[in-house]
């Protein structure tokens, strides 16, 4: 038995993280219980199974569920088809700008879905960039593609959103996979194709499955993309149906019972995901291909270049066109575009005239206030949770599981819970929004902090203790400085997620609290795309600024 294990057996577990964990669980469980309670009541607030029964026997429920699963499956397959070649390239080749590509591939984790929707409409829409280019190329007067408002649009948008996630997760695993078995197979006479089929693919499969499950979960819980790009009753998923029932039909119990059904399915998915995660081996040996080789043949170079250009156009294109479109205006539909700050002036109330809206300042102020509060609260919360989850044992693993729980419950359902809560207690809406965002965002921050906390060698703590530092001093002088960078990354994640959060905020406050994503959603709804683009650009710039500030705050990596 190793000394470290003995050490952990000998001393009582660190209980510092428990109070914070309890608070978070309460913040998560109260709205959940309220939602569940609502599912078991009738219209008058008495206990009844009739609502649940009605929902479960309604054929609409089942057709919505089938559609939800269908679009999630198709989206996952599409993401896989686009993301896997990228994962191969990233894991096996060394080229200029690789780090940038890797960094960009993490953006979808924090990219607000409303921005994706907007970029999609601007880029792929009937009057979008792609159609304009194709119309000019082929001298056509009609749009070449009719993408929007269909299952195809949803799948494409999801693929665009999620393929970088597949690329990122699979390539990270692939990169660190021990390459000696493959080399051994080659020396034993297997062809490259054979090696891939018999050695590489089997060991890669768990990571592919795990990434796919995550993407499936994301697509299942997708909200803004369905709401805008689905465009009608034919494309309704569980999440949008819950929102419509709650905020449009004002049928709380029906929304709650749908939420219950939806939650059961996502919990099954999440358990599957966790089981897969456990199967992924952690690679600590140095036989990995981290350094890769440069692409050698002309053929591979060309293929990589083509893939890179296509991904750049189809993934970065929509986001860039949002920014570009926000600075342009066209006097008429066919006239050429001109550079202009018209939309910003309008939104920020700087232009005089009837079309002035002062909404942008309010939205920016609200969004920054909420996101900063959530980010600042998340730092001490993550710190104490991570230090508790660091030790192995039942307490740590249950804390970690609880930290994952909010992933099983979609942000729409969390918003719904807080909406029910808000109707019962008198609290200021902002507080509830901050709490809801906290519950949604902290699991993501923990994903950055907990692995770092686990990496701190036990002997650093032991050495500091033998030099005369007590437990609290060790935490302050050794552990916190070592966790600083991951805490900043975590807080940055939380900030970005909160800044772009639409689902819970919309379900909870139904646009009574104007945040940037909510106002963008309203502008898209009223076909003011340029205005939405301008706000989207403000959102991107705010996120970028915070990202730059947090990078500047970080110290150098050690080791």
């Amino acid at each position: 038995m190793k000394a470290e294990q003995k050490q952990q057996k000998g001393n009582p577990p660190d209980l510092a993280g428990v109070p914070v964990a309890v608070i978070l669980i309460v913040l998560f469980l109260i709205p959940l219980c309220v939602t569940l309670g609502e599912a078991f009541t009738d219209g008058q607030g008495h206990f009844a199974l009739s609502t649940l029964e009605k929902t479960l026997t309604d054929p609409t429920t089942w057709s919505v569920l089938v559609f939800t699963l269908k679009q999630a499956l198709l989206s996952t397959l599409a993401s896989l088809a686009i993301g896997l070649p990228g994962a191969y390239i990233l894991a096996n080749y060394r080229f200029k700008g690789k780090q940038i590509v890797k960094a960009i591939s993490t953006v979808p984790f924090v990219l607000p879905s409303i921005l994706v929707v907007l970029g999609f409409v601007i880029f792929y829409g009937n009057n979008g960039v792609l159609n304009r280019v194709l119309m000019a190329l082929f001298h056509r007067n009609q749009p070449v593609f009719h993408f929007l408002y269909s299952l195809g649009a949803i799948v494409l948008a999801h693929a665009f959103y999620n393929s970088p996630i597949i690329m990122n997760l699979v390539s990270t695993y692939w990169e660190q996979m021990d390459c000696h078995p493959e080399q051994a197979a080659l020396t034993l006479g297997a062809s490259r194709k054979n090696v891939f089929r018999t050695i590489t693919l089997p060991s890669l499969l768990p990571s592919i499955l795990s990434a796919c499950t995550l993407v499936f979960l994301f697509c299942y819980n997708s909200f803004a993309i369905i709401l805008v790009l689905g465009g009608g009753p034919a494309c309704t998923t569980m999440e949008t149906e819950i929102y419509r029932k709650a905020r449009m039909s004002l049928d709380g119990p029906a929304a709650a019972s749908l939420a219950l059904l939806s939650m059961l399915i996502t919990i099954v998915l999440l358990i599957f995901y966790i089981v897969l995660q456990r199967r992924l081996k952690r690679h600590e040996d140095f036989n990995n291909r981290r350094y890769g080789s440069r692409p050698s043949s002309v053929q591979s170079k060309t293929l990589i270049a083509i893939y890179a250009v296509l991904v750049a156009i189809f993934v970065l294109g929509p986001i860039c066109s949002v920014v570009v479109r926000s600075f342009t205006t066209a006097p008429s539909r066919t006239a050429p575009m001109q550079w202009s700050l018209k939309w910003y002036r309008q939104l920020f109330g700087l232009s005089s005239g009837k079309d002035t809206m002062n909404i942008a300042w309010t939205a920016l102020k609200n969004s920054l206030f909420i996101a900063l509060s959530v980010a600042l609260i998340s730092i001490p919360a993550c710190l104490s949770l991570a230090s508790a989850a660091k030790r192995k044992g039942w307490l740590a693993s249950s804390l970690e599981m609880l930290g994952m729980l909010p992933m099983a419950v979609s942000s729409v359902i969390i918003g719904l819970g807080y909406y029910f809560l808000a109707s019962r207690i008198q609290t200021r809406g902002y507080v509830l929004v901050v709490l809801a965002h906290l519950v949604i965002a902290i699991p993501f921050a923990l994903r950055s902090v907990i692995p770092e906390a686990r990496k701190i060698p036990w002997m650093y703590v032991a050495a500091a203790r033998t030099l005369g530092a007590n437990r609290a001093t060790v935490f302050r002088t050794i552990e916190v400085p070592l966790l600083k960078n991951s805490l900043i990354t975590g807080a940055m994640f939380v900030f970005a997620l909160s800044l772009g959060e639409l689902n819970a905020t919309l379900t909870l406050s139904d646009s009574s609290i104007a945040t940037l994503p909510i106002v963008m959603y309203q502008l898209i709804g009223s076909y003011n795309y340029q205005g939405a683009c301008a706000l989207g650009t403000v959102l991107i710039i705010s996120s970028l600024l915070v990202f730059l500030i947090s990078e500047a705050l970080k110290g150098k990596e050690h080791g």
Binding site: M1, K6, A462, R465, T466, A469, T473, H558
Partner: protein, 354 residues
């Protein structure tokens, strides 16, 4: 009772697959080495002494007459140097060494002076600004040593401090540690699995096996008069033969074996390679008159060049006997002789007084 300065301890601890039960003392200013195979409880002993592990009831640790068992790690004044250094990666060398000084609220000027003198002591002058990542393994271990000394411990524990380093550096640093011990006079307990390291620096060597102390003595005594077969084989090379061959084979060859008293149980004889004399010409008598055990008609099976000497391995009646020679032996056959006073006898693993 006179208070004994230094360390006096009895440590008991049990784990599912291993239990520790040791009792030893180290005088103030002494350097004791704990040596034993991996898993024998060396590291556990150090961790209990430093308070990182809690021992079972019945244990006691007295340091300069004070019971420190109930004290938490940080109050024990027991520093520990780790095998993989455990330097804090985010801090410079200066900050690492000054860490215990800051904890004691030493003013900044005092800290700078102290760090400078400690860096001089470990032969790393001018290394203050470097980060641990910029140092070699040997330099890191010197910094770790300086940091441990900065806490002015009453007892300094070193847990295989050199085993991550290459051979040449290990020897050099080993002598440095001995020098630093002599200069500072701090009581040290040094854990290693390398008997050469232990013999070179220790005032006292504690041989451990399976959670128990086999023998505790100065290294010469351990080497020449091991109390157990384990100590004998662990401390250096040796030839181990069953006792039965002496009564069966050697008796028929007219050896003088009266000194060996046969007993029941598993009995064995043991002698060091350098005690074996090689007589290539069988007709000549062995050069000394002291009673010898003779192994006639031994056949040379291999001869390994070791630099200053040759390790020569002979086969005699299906047994291998290792000897040491200054020159490569000429003939294939030889008579090997061992003086009876150089032969150790063991009965069931314990030394038998002859």
């Amino acid at each position: 009772m006179v208070e004994q300065q230094g360390l006096v301890c009895t440590l008991k601890a049990s784990y599912p697959d291993f239990s520790l039960d040791v009792s030893f003392s180290v005088k103030q200013g002494e350097l004791a080495c704990i040596i034993g195979p991996s898993g024998c409880g060396k590291t556990t002993t150090l961790q209990i002494l430093s308070g990182l592990l809690k021992p079972d009831k019945g244990s006691s640790i007295l340091l300069d007459g004070i019971d420190i068992l109930s004290l938490p790690t940080e109050k024990r004044q027991v520093a520990l140097v780790f095998q993989d250094y455990a330097l804090f990666p985010q801090m410079s060398v200066q900050d690492n060494i000054a860490y215990p000084l800051k904890l004691r609220k030493m003013p900044k000027s005092g800290r700078i002076a102290k760090v400078t003198s400690l860096l001089d002591l470990v032969s790393l002058p001018g290394f203050q600004k470097r980060k641990p990542g910029q140092l070699s393994g040997g330099e890191r271990q010197r910094v770790a040593l300086a940091r441990a000394l900065a806490s002015e411990p009453k007892l300094l524990l070193l847990d295989e401090p050199l085993s991550a380093l290459d051979t040449k550096l290990r020897r050099h640093l080993r002598d440095e540690i001995k020098r630093i011990h002599d200069e500072t006079g701090v009581t040290m307990v040094y854990v290693t699995h390398d008997q050469n390291e232990a013999m070179a620096i220790a005032d006292t060597v504690i041989v451990m096996n399976q959670g128990k102390i086999e023998q505790m003595a100065p290294s010469e005594e351990l080497y020449n008069h091991p109390k157990t077969l384990f100590t004998a084989t662990f401390m250096g090379d040796g030839n181990l033969l069953p006792y039965s061959i002496i009564t069966q084979t050697l008796a028929s060859e007219g050896n003088n074996y009266v000194m060996f008293r046969p007993k029941s149980g598993e009995q064995a004889i043991f002698f060091r390679p350098e005690k074996v004399t090689i007589q290539a010409d069988e007709k000549l008598p062995l050069p000394e008159f002291l009673p010898h055990l003779e192994f006639k008609n031994a056949t040379l099976s291999s001869c390994i060049f070791q630099g200053s000497y040759y390790q020569v391995i002979y086969t005699w009646n299906d047994y291998k006997i290792t000897a040491v020679a200054e020159k490569r032996p000429k003939g294939l056959n030889a008579t090997l002789g061992v003086r009876l006073i150089d032969i150790l006898q063991f009965l069931d693993g314990r030394a038998v007084k002859v």
